[in-house]
């Protein structure tokens, strides 16, 4: 709690209200700025408190329904298919409705997985250092390193490595010979062949002369990852203004959050990922909840729908993460796990639910909204859950 330069009387009046901390601080700040008297402070506090209590959600208010409408209506205004660049040069990022659907459906992998990688200390300041991290993240395959040729007469695959590229991608090693040696070792390890190295030229072939195997070796060679993370196909480096000042930030196409956090130079306190499942696995359920709120809000904001109240998205994220795992909204998640047979049947695949319920002899307690609408009873929400009786007084 911050200290405000107000008299004890004013402080007491404001602290005495039912307001939450954040609002009390706001009122105190205003009181300090305007230099109000105790009497004025009481008036202000009463007015603010009245407004606060008036706008507060009432008991038995159907907050879920309100949230659904509040997200659903702006959702109708979202573009059906924006599929390009979101602040980052030439990077495809799923936006708008498809992205929102992807999030609430809790898809295992997003259409365009992306990591935002922040860098530590000097890695974020010097371009060269930042590039070191880039090569530790971006997957390096053989085609990026040199040319492959097959000699069918001698049954050998010949790889002519490009010295400049080697130097660029292994900035921490000085001699290209040594790097080529490393590459040779990786090939030996993955393909199970003996590689002969002559400077930056590598040669190897199948143990038995076989044309088919030779071609297969070349195929497999193309898939080997020599450096970096396999799932990351591209890294874009940008200089950006952040909370820490100006620094280099990396954006990756493809994601491997857990692996990325362990790389030297990566700031493991700020780096994030747009795949909520990866966030869940790496940082836990609470972080996943934060990520869901963050992602849904940015998706809406990008579409100019920033007037959706954050509380609705918080509610959605709370429900999705309630059981310790990420559940989707819909048939396979929240709606499919409802206790009531009738509620589930009303949502999707009606016959299957009714049939299964009949087979298992399920009963319905009629606690929820949908089942009560179906049977024509008052819904137990709002005024529907409050019993009122007319007061009877005896007359003489």
């Amino acid at each position: 709690m911050t200290n405000f330069d107000v008299t004890d009387g004013v402080l007491e009046v404001i602290e005495d209200t039912e307001l939450p901390r954040r609002l009390k601080d706001e009122v105190l700040a205003t009181a300090e700025e305007r230099d109000v008297t105790k009497g004025q402070a009481r008036e202000i506090a009463t007015a603010v408190e009245a407004q606060y209590l008036d706008t507060r959600v009432d008991p038995l208010d159907p907050v879920g329904t309100v949230s659904a409408q509040s997200i659903g209506e702006p959702g109708t205004q979202m573009t059906m298919n924006t599929f390009h660049y979101a602040g980052v040069a030439e990077m495809d990022v799923t936006q708008g409705l498809p992205r929102l659907i992807e999030l609430v459906d809790a898809r295992k992998t997003p259409d365009t997985p992306i990591m935002t990688v922040f860098l530590e200390d000097e890695f974020g300041e010097e371009r060269e250092k930042a590039h070191e991290v880039v090569w530790d993240i971006e997957a390096t395959k053989i085609l990026a390193l040199g040319d492959i040729s097959t000699n069918v007469a001698d049954m050998v695959v010949r790889v002519d490595l490009n010295e400049d590229t080697l130097q660029e991608r292994w900035p921490r090693v000085d001699s290209t010979n040594e790097i080529a040696g490393e590459v040779a070792e990786t090939i030996e390890g993955s393909l199970g062949v003996t590689v002969t190295q002559d400077g930056t030229v590598l040669e190897f072939g199948p143990s038995e002369p076989s044309y088919r195997e030779l071609l297969q070796l070349v195929e497999q060679l193309r898939d080997i990852v020599f450096k970096g993370i396999e799932d990351v196909t591209r890294v874009v480096i940008r200089r950006e203004e952040t909370d820490e000042g100006e620094e280099f930030v990396l954006y990756t196409e493809g994601s491997a959050f857990k692996k990325a956090l362990k790389i030297e130079g990566v700031d493991a306190t700020r780096t994030s990922c747009n795949n909520i499942h990866e966030v869940h696995k790496t940082l836990g359920i609470e972080a996943a909840r934060e990520a869901i709120i963050e992602e849904t809000m940015t998706t809406l904001e990008e579409q100019g729908l920033d007037d959706v109240n954050i509380r609705h998205l918080m509610l959605v994220a709370d429900i999705m993460t309630n059981d310790g795992t990420i559940q989707s909204i819909g048939r396979h998640g929240i709606s499919g796990n409802k206790d009531s047979v009738l509620a589930r049947a009303a949502f999707e695949v009606t016959v299957n639910h009714l049939l299964d319920a009949a087979v298992h002899g399920e009963s319905d307690d009629l606690d929820g909204v949908i089942e009560n609408v179906i049977v024509g009873k008052p819904v137990r929400l709002g005024t529907g859950d409050v019993d009122l009786r007319m007061g009877v007084t005896e007359s003489d």
Binding site: R22, D25, T269, T282, L283, I285, E286, G324
Partner: protein
């Protein structure tokens, strides 16, 4: 090993002792199984947390200063 608790997305998790837990449950008039859950293998969970424990989570709230929530550790 990366220290998960240092990440800005991860709020503070602490294991609640039984006495405070009783108070909390009484306050809300609920049973501990009605609390939201957290898996025992959750990376953000303190090492001494066991199944059946309740962790207290202090979030930086977007709508108020701090939001305190509780999760029951399962399987």
């Amino acid at each position: 090993m990366v220290d998960v608790s240092q990440h800005e997305l991860v709020p503070e998790h602490t294991v609640l002792d039984e006495d405070t837990l009783e108070e909390v449950l009484e306050d809300y008039e609920i049973d501990r199984t009605e609390l939201p859950k957290i898996k025992r293998k959750d990376p953000a969970l303190p090492d001494d947390a066991e199944v059946g424990d309740v962790v207290k989570i202090v979030r930086d709230s977007r709508t108020t200063d701090e939001a305190i929530v509780y999760r029951l550790v399962i399987e």
